[in-house]
Symmetry: none
DNA sequence: TATGAATGAGTCTTCATTCAT
DNA sequence: TATGAATGAAGACTCATTCAT
């Protein structure tokens, strides 16, 4: 009757994953999760403080991975653009970082979709916005450097936020519309080309 | 005591509008709506089949207006691009159409935000996707023509869908991030420039 | 199936009365109340906002009656003692007022016991304290006048609060320990005598 | 890692004390207690049969102390009043006993308040009543002797119970309304004076 | 000694919906 | 037209308690 290792917890987590991915945070039912896991409600509350914590646990790995990948992305960008930038290259090192992000997102595909598009109501509902915010800070630095180097005027705040938002949105698109990672990686270069084209247009280059 | 014309119905709609906009479709409470309208639940069900129909009614005007504007947009684009396209112009006639769309969206700002970002759970939760689909059909034609005229290769389906999606997303951004229509119209040219830059980049021009 | 007049509401109220009196506010179960009333949970919430409101409704009549009686009591005392006081009389007009209070309390005996001793957790848990507070204000005036008239020193705040508290406690005793109103009225004179003796002793008369 | 002596048990008791005093018997949560003690639920049930036993353990020392003090009180009173009584003295030997009781109660102040006012639901919820009962038996003897000595008629059962109840209630008042033992001891003489005044009035002296 | 896991019934409350009148 | 009443299932969450290890 008693689980040796984290059997019940895992069953719970697995059932929760399914339910959350199916219904989103708000419409997920803890009852349904417990029933699916073949466990009573009390058991759930032994392992998790509440619905929110259960959700956080389900998306924790991808959340952490994305944050880390984002950190790498930012670090790279800030340093790279300071050294000058070749706008023709479509196989540059930032493509590498983008690839890595895509790989991570697809490793935890469903969880990422959940976190980025169906987390409303949970304490992580602003995860996407926080990603945008982090990116924005970095882009501020980057674009200023480029503007200085090229002698064009700096990007204003509204535009910068818009560009960042769209950047993130394009990654989410890749995530939600590609049937698998291979397709995503195949399309990635076009997305990058598209975004770059947009940036350059706006920056007047 | 009895309403001559649609007084009760209107009170209901007004209250529903507020509640839906505040809470989104799913989290809106019919009870709260009735209470706010000073009317009993039964009355609501006399006028509306269910929650979904009430919601549809609330967003019907903007929904219709957007569809219409979209129709105009499409008609124009299909015809315009067939005549050749001056990529330098940022004040061309498609800017006119975009302006019109922005104006409509801001005329029913709250309803549009509701429809485009908080309709999940209702039968209109895919309204945004249907907009995208319609646009996509038109863009298929347009881009093919341009490609032919310029002698570059046609945009594949995946990319086309992506571009359309982003186009719509950028309008939603304008809607949700501008404090009023004046700001939106001020920023619109930059958004257009950005989108065009992206398109051209992808199309290899 | 549908009740013509307030039948269901009354059944609910009656069941609630029983359950609250039996178990006290906190340990009363709304489920049990509904079951006893032969009604679903939803019905209860149609008539009452929540557990607290249901409770308030159950004790509302006695609560109101006591407040009123207290008002009369106070009015009388403030006026009476201003005219001089005959400490020998045990059948004076304040005995009359006390009688009336006892009568009211016994008219709603169970509800009063509920309100005064088993309301913890509800918004009326401090009803008793508010009674004491009201009495205390009045006694402040009264005792000051007496002290002045007799030339003895005024009762300090701590003592006044204590005396008032005990006064109320003695009425609660009467309520909870008399098998019926007749016994209560029979014992009342002794209680009055006792309280008066205490007051005079403390005031040094 | 393993406690040599009653370390865990003590941690449990300490945490229980806090929780019970904070929330009262019924609203105290064993979970919260275990968590606060840094111990699992099972541990609690190793040391204590159930919630009730844990509670009893928490209040056992003051309960015992009060019983003992009460025993002394009774012994003294029964003997004292048999020798005659000087009603003028406010510094008599029964004042000494009262002082001792107050001292004990304040030594375990929180526990006493808990036992006397927040034990409802536990098997000790009638501890207060049992104190009253014991006192009453003694007072029966005492008052009969006094009545005989003075030639006034005996106190009837109802009145005796009432007087005893009030006596206890006055001690509880002292306990719950004095900020510390010094204030309590300062006020004690007035309380005694008040109670005596009441007794004499009722006994017709 | 104590843990960690699990039970299962219980808490109050909210929901969209129905229907006789 | 509208009301008032009622449904019944579901919501998240807490409880004291048990027991194999």
């Amino acid at each position: 009757m008693t689980a040796t290792d984290g059997e019940t917890r895992n069953k719970l987590l697995k059932a929760a994953r399914k339910e959350f991915i199916d219904k989103g945070y708000m419409n997920a039912s803890l009852r349904a999760i417990c029933k699916d896991a073949g466990v009573t409600t009390g058991a759930l509350y032994f392992f998790f403080k509440d619905k929110d914590e259960l959700f956080a646990e389900v998306v924790s790995k991808p959340l952490f991975a994305i944050r880390e990948a984002l950190g790498a992305h930012l670090e790279f960008e800030e340093q790279e653009y300071s050294e000058g930038y070749d706008e023709e290259s479509s196989e540059g090192p930032d493509t590498e970082v983008s690839k890595k992000i895509v790989e991570i997102m697809f490793k935890y595909k469903d969880e990422c979709v959940l976190l980025l598009t169906k987390s409303s109501g949970s304490s992580l509902e602003f995860a996407k916005d926080s990603f945008i915010e982090r990116l924005e800070g970095s882009y501020r630095v980057t674009t200023d450097k480029i503007a200085e180097a090229r002698g064009c005027k700096k990007v204003d705040d509204y535009t910068l936020h818009y560009l960042t938002h769209m950047q993130v949105e394009s990654f989410i698109y890749l995530l939600t519309h590609s049937k698998d990672i291979d397709e995503a990686l195949k399309e990635l270069p076009y997305i990058i080309k598209h975004m770059r084209g947009g940036w350059f247009a706006v920056m007047g280059m």
